[in-house]
């Protein structure tokens, strides 16, 4: 099921009449059968977008299409969606079995069929032995599985997940995100999930949509977006440790940071914001000199801090290339890994 959002806008008006634009003129096409991440910092409108797709919020403007059907004004139950809430919203007074059966009781299907489907879902998410427990007797990860089973048991056209992993501890989170990916692959259902965790989004999604203040920043495959960010916001939002941004100047096709020539570039002369990811530096005898301010050895890599035209800059380099107590090193940047952004608009000028 392809999902198409056209000029989708949501404005909330509070009691005193103050308007907040949560989602602003969003145009996205989500391919059928893909796992899509809606990514952005908190308050960027990603959950609002999800709830509009679910039908729980009515858009102020714009249209939503599922395939060829327009669903903008359709009630949630008629859209054929399954939604997993951030805190799962499992009914606390029902057993796991009753929770999964609940959506089916509203449909006109035979009881045997309903039980068969419930068992099928329980098997899919590996909770067969937990069916008679109450949600309070389950761990976070198990509750998550039950919530997914409950959302999928109706055989929805679209699966929506609102911050599915934010209530889990770090280890479970890793496990559950693989689990979500597996379930999505097995069912081939178009899945949209909301997250503020860029690592989570990058690791499991086929495509990412990055939002900021309700405005679409970039839509792309994770690695593509990481390597070629469209603007400075996307560049800063993706990656850990975060990208280094410092002021740079281009003169005669050479990029300077302060007075240090970094490398040749082919853009108009002028001032730019320069972005270089920490892992894109390498120790190189032909590179530029830096004074190391701090060294952190973190196993496979070593993180060094240095000052670059007044900005504290991080570089992630091979552990063997830096000796303890070393104060000076020559660095260069890998080809195509310098990102130049326009100083005022923040839009990318080039990746060099």
């Amino acid at each position: 099921m392809e999902i198409r959002l056209e000029h989708l806008t949501k404005i909330f008006t509070d009691k005193s009449g103050i308007e907040t634009t949560a989602v602003n003129d969003l145009d996205i096409v989500i391919e059928s059968g893909k796992l899509i991440a809606l990514l952005g910092p908190s308050g960027c409108g990603k959950s609002t977008t999800l709830f509009m797709i679910a039908g729980l919020h009515k858009p102020t403007e714009g249209k939503i299409f599922f395939g060829d059907d327009e669903v903008t004004k359709l009630a949630p139950e008629k859209r054929g969606i399954g939604l997993v809430f951030q805190n799962y919203a499992l009914y606390p007074h029902m057993t796991v079995r009753q929770n999964i059966m609940f959506p089916l009781e509203n449909l006109r299907i035979k009881r045997e069929d309903a039980i068969a489907r419930m068992n099928e879902m329980a098997a899919l998410v590996n909770i067969k032995e937990l069916l008679d427990r109450k949600p309070a007797q389950l761990s976070g990860g198990q509750q998550q599985r039950v919530a997914i089973a409950r959302a999928l048991v109706k055989k929805p056209r679209v699966l929506l997940l609102d911050e599915p992993l934010s209530n889990l501890d770090a280890r479970l989170r890793l496990q559950m995100r693989e689990e979500i990916k597996r379930i999505q692959r097995e069912t081939q259902i178009t899945t949209i999930f909301v997250t503020h965790d860029q690592e989570e989004a990058m690791s499991i999604s086929d495509q990412m949509v990055v939002l900021n203040f309700g405005v679409k920043q970039q839509v792309d495959a994770p690695q593509e977006m990481y390597n070629n960010p469209d603007n400075i916001f996307v560049a800063k939002f993706l990656g850990n440790p975060p990208i280094n941004i410092f002021k740079g100047k281009v003169k005669n096709n050479t990029l300077y940071a302060g007075k240090t020539p970094i490398g040749p570039v082919e853009v108009q002369d002028g001032q730019y914001d320069v972005g270089v990811r920490p892992e894109d530096f390498r120790v190189d005898d032909k590179g530029f000199d830096v004074n190391i301010t701090e060294i952190f050895h973190i196993g496979r890599d070593t993180l060094i801090h240095f000052d670059e035209s007044g900005t504290d800059t991080r570089a992630l380099v091979d552990s063997d290339s830096i000796l303890p107590g070393q104060t000076k090193v020559k660095l260069s940047v890998k080809k195509g890994k310098i990102h130049l952004f326009d100083e005022t608009s923040g839009l990318v000028v080039g990746h060099v």
């Binding site: 139950e77 008629k78 809430f85 919203a89 609940f102 109450k134 309070a136």
Partner: protein, 352 residues
């Protein structure tokens, strides 16, 4: 403004300094016990006001009731007794005309009256208040207005309400209720008083008079229940309703499968407290039917157990105080047994 705040700060510091000086002095002179009180002593000081009042008005009367009930022929004017008895007073009360069983010339007893009021008015008022609470929860405009209206009976003097009720339920076609019934073509009902064709007072039927009491009880008790139900419904996580909405759950099923189970602890609490409250019905009888506890000319009584207890208290025949104590202990036993039965049932029915 800040000068005043500075002055306050200085004064507070000065007091702190004095305080610590006094403490140091007392501790140094082996009088630390004056300022360092043990925790149990501090707790006692804070509990004292409530404990003293409860002892005088609750604990002492309870103990006294158990003491009075074993006296025979207790004369409260000269404080003498003629002997002791274990069950004598209970047996007298239970054999009394109109206490347990109606005597030959009437149609009802205080026990039957009380049970009718409890068993009819409590379920009706709980059901109605639940429905009103759900309705109030689903409307937005005027919710506060209606909430206030429904809460008014709770803060109004019950004698005043009773007098208004007596007026509203006036017999003949001048009473408000009878006039309203007339709009639907129903003949006037003799609610609280009745005459025959010759102008002789014959009194209304038992059920006509009793229904006025029941309607009064239902209406007055609803205020508190609506408030409790409304707050507990508002405390339910909205996501349960959103999840149910996505599954296309009909309104009636949402009410019975989600709302009711999730507020079941509150419903249980209300059942117990309102049963106890209904057992103690007294003012409504006084306010509507006066001291005699029955409509003029009636061949039955509408007195309740509490009314009966007051009758004994107001009547200074020797031994009556012991009978009042006996009937109040019977009432207590009744309420206790019913509450215990309900707690047993609730273990199965009340969720988490």
């Amino acid at each position: 403004m800040s000068k005043i705040k500075d002055a306050f700060w200085a004064v507070r510091n000065w007091f702190k300094k004095i305080n610590s000086k006094i403490t140091d002095f007392l501790v140094n002179h082996k009088m630390g016990f004056l300022v360092h009180w043990p925790d149990w002593f501090k707790a006692l000081i804070f509990l004292a006001p409530a404990l003293i009042l409860l002892s005088i008005f609750i604990f002492y009367p309870i103990v006294n009731a158990f003491k009075l009930v074993i006296y025979e022929g207790y004369n409260q004017t000269d404080n003498t007794i003629t002997g002791y008895t274990v069950f004598g007073n209970f047996i007298t009360v239970l054999n009394e005309d109109n206490f347990l069983l109606p005597s030959s010339h009437t149609q009802s007893s205080v026990m039957i009256n009380t049970l009718i009021i409890v068993l009819i008015s409590v379920p009706i008022s709980i059901l109605l208040s639940l429905l009103i609470a759900v309705a109030l929860n689903s409307i937005k405009p005027l919710r506060n207005f209606f909430q206030t209206i429904y809460f008014l009976p709770y803060v109004t003097n019950s004698i005043a309400i009773g007098l208004v009720f007596a007026y509203m339920f006036k017999s003949g076609d001048s009473g408000l209720i009878n006039r309203m019934l007339g709009w639907f073509g129903i003949d006037p009902i003799a609610w609280v008083s009745n005459w025959n064709n010759n102008g002789v007072i014959i009194g209304p039927t038992f059920w006509a008079a009793m229904s006025v009491l029941i309607i009064y009880g239902v209406w007055q008790a609803m205020a508190f229940k609506i408030m409790v139900f409304l707050t507990s419904i508002q405390g339910i996580d909205k996501q349960y309703y959103q999840a149910a909405e996505i599954d296309g759950t009909p309104k009636r099923r949402i009410f019975s499968k989600i709302t009711i189970p999730l507020i079941s602890p509150m419903i249980f609490y209300i059942i117990i407290t309102s049963m106890i409250g209904a057992f103690k019905t007294y003012e409504s009888v006084i306010a509507i039917f006066g001291d005699s506890g029955a409509p003029a000319g009636a061949t039955y009584t509408l007195k309740t157990i509490v009314f009966y207890i007051y009758d004994y208290l107001n009547n200074s025949t020797p031994g009556n105080l012991s009978l009042a104590a006996a009937s109040s202990i019977i009432l207590f036993a009744f309420i206790l047994v019913l509450t215990l039965i309900q707690m047993q049932i609730s273990k199965k029915r009340v969720h988490y």
